[in-house]
Structure formats: structure tokens, C-alpha cells
Amino acid sequence: MKDILKNINKAFDHRIRLGMMSVLMVNENADFNTLKELLGATDGNLASHIKALELEQYIHVEKQFIARKPNTQYSITAKGRKAFQEHIEALEKLIPKG
């Protein structure tokens, strides 16, 4: 049992973080409002989960200005992609076949 759970990544053990990684897996990048809308999160809630993933170096944060308004783009890092793939594989192993 311990063995199977080894690859289950605690960093993804929350709906928001899981969703954010899923979105970034299939999109080159996403901005704060897009993520907020997709995940149905509040500003503060989303920001804290972003911070957690950023600390793990799973996502890359790029701040820029569009028409003098701050716009932050998030993208997945190579490390994050690998960790998330391993997480998905571990999840699949846990699900009973059939």
C-alpha cells in the first residue's frame, strides 16, 4: 500500500491545484482571470495555490503589462510537467481496472 501511494504527489492534493496543473498541461499559458474563471476560485484562494505551486517550481510566473495594465501569465515548467504526469500515472494505478 505504501508503495502504490509513493508517487501520489501531495502538492496536487487539492482541487484548485489539480485543476490549475490540468489547464496548464494543455495550454501554452493562462492568465490569472482565465484560471479563476475555469476553476471557480476566489482571488485570494487562487493566489495562495499559485504560490504553493510556484514554490515547488512546478509553474512559471511571468509578469507583464498589456496596455499598461498588469497581466500575469502562468505556464507549466518541465519539472511540473514530469511531476504531474507521474501523479496521473500513480492515480491510474490506484483505480481498480474495469
Binding site: M1, I8, R15, L18, G19, M21, S22, V23, M25, V26, N27, E28, A30, T34, L38, L39, I88, L91, E92, L94, I95, P96
Partner: protein
Amino acid sequence: MFFKVLYMETKDYLQDIREIKNMMSQSTQFISLSGLSGVLAGIYALIGAYMAGRILPQPEYRYFEPHNTQETVNSLILIAMALMVLSIGTAYIMTVRKAKRIGESIWNKSAKRLLVNFAIPLATGGIFSLLLLLQTDYKLIAPVTLIFYGLACVNASKYTLRDVRYLGLTMVVLGLISVAFPGYGLYFWAIGFGFCHILYGAVMHFKYDSK
């Protein structure tokens, strides 16, 4: 007891996988839309508008006026049909090519959503224009095609590159302005379908395709 715990956790992880799949498909945008095909469609539109201008009685350049003969109207419809076939054909071929290049499937879920959401306002506008044509009420056809095409772009833009939204909004504004200038529809039509397509197509091409 142990089995109960295992069962609970399994159920949770199934939910996780569902969430992952759901988020992935919901957020995927169809990014294979080719910018260059927009530029080409714009060029076709300008050529078409020029030809239409030549057919119309000089020097007024007023399209679809009641004094136009049935023959003129038929030629205009023919030009419009040719433009539509050429533009859709080019867009299809170039988008398939781009999709192949970047490894996106052409007929995926986001492509379907894009097409359906684009088609609903567009078909409405198309039928509206045909009805106007049948009633020989020609002067609203240019505004109607511009406005409904613009709305189709705005509606579809959620599922593809964001620039399509601004193209759509520009078209809607042009269409509304052109209502105030009856008889000058061909000019607005050339600006909208010609210049705007070229402009936004070029922006999209340099932003995404030439990377």
C-alpha cells in the same frame, strides 16, 4: 477497516481523474487557426469588392440599388458565392496544414465547439441576408453580413485565439456604422471583410505562426 479506507481513497482519486479530464477539455482552445488564411480571405474580398464595383453603374458605386438590373444582381451574387467558397476552402486547407504541423487534431472537441458556436450566428445572418435578397431589399445586406459575421467571431472567440474577438467587435461596429450610410455598403464591406481580415490575419500570423 483497512479495505474501507482503501475504498474511500480510491473513490477520491477517481474524482481527481475526472476533474483533470474535465479541466483539460474545458480549457483547451483550438489554436490551429491559420492567420495567413485570414490575410488571403481579405485579399479575395478586396478583389471581389473591386469586381463588384466595376459591375455597378458608374460613377455611383452604389451596390444593390433598386435600379440595378436583375443581371447585375445575379453577377453580384455570383461574386459573393465565389468569394465564400474560396475563403472557406483556403481557411480549411491552411488550418489542416497548421494543425498537422503543431500536432493538434483537426477534429477535436475544441474544434467542434468552435465551429458550432461560429455557425449559429453566421447561419442566422446568412438566412437573414437571403430573405432580404428575396424581398429585393438590398441596402441592408452589407450591414447584416458584417454584423452577423462579427457576432459569429465574438461567439467563437472563447474557443480559439483571443484576437478573433477583436476582429468580431470591429466587424460589428463597422456593420452598425454602415447602416447609417445606405448605398456605401460596398465600401464598408471592403473595409471589414478585406482590410480587417488582412490586418488581424497578419497580426495572428506574426504572433503565433511565425514562431
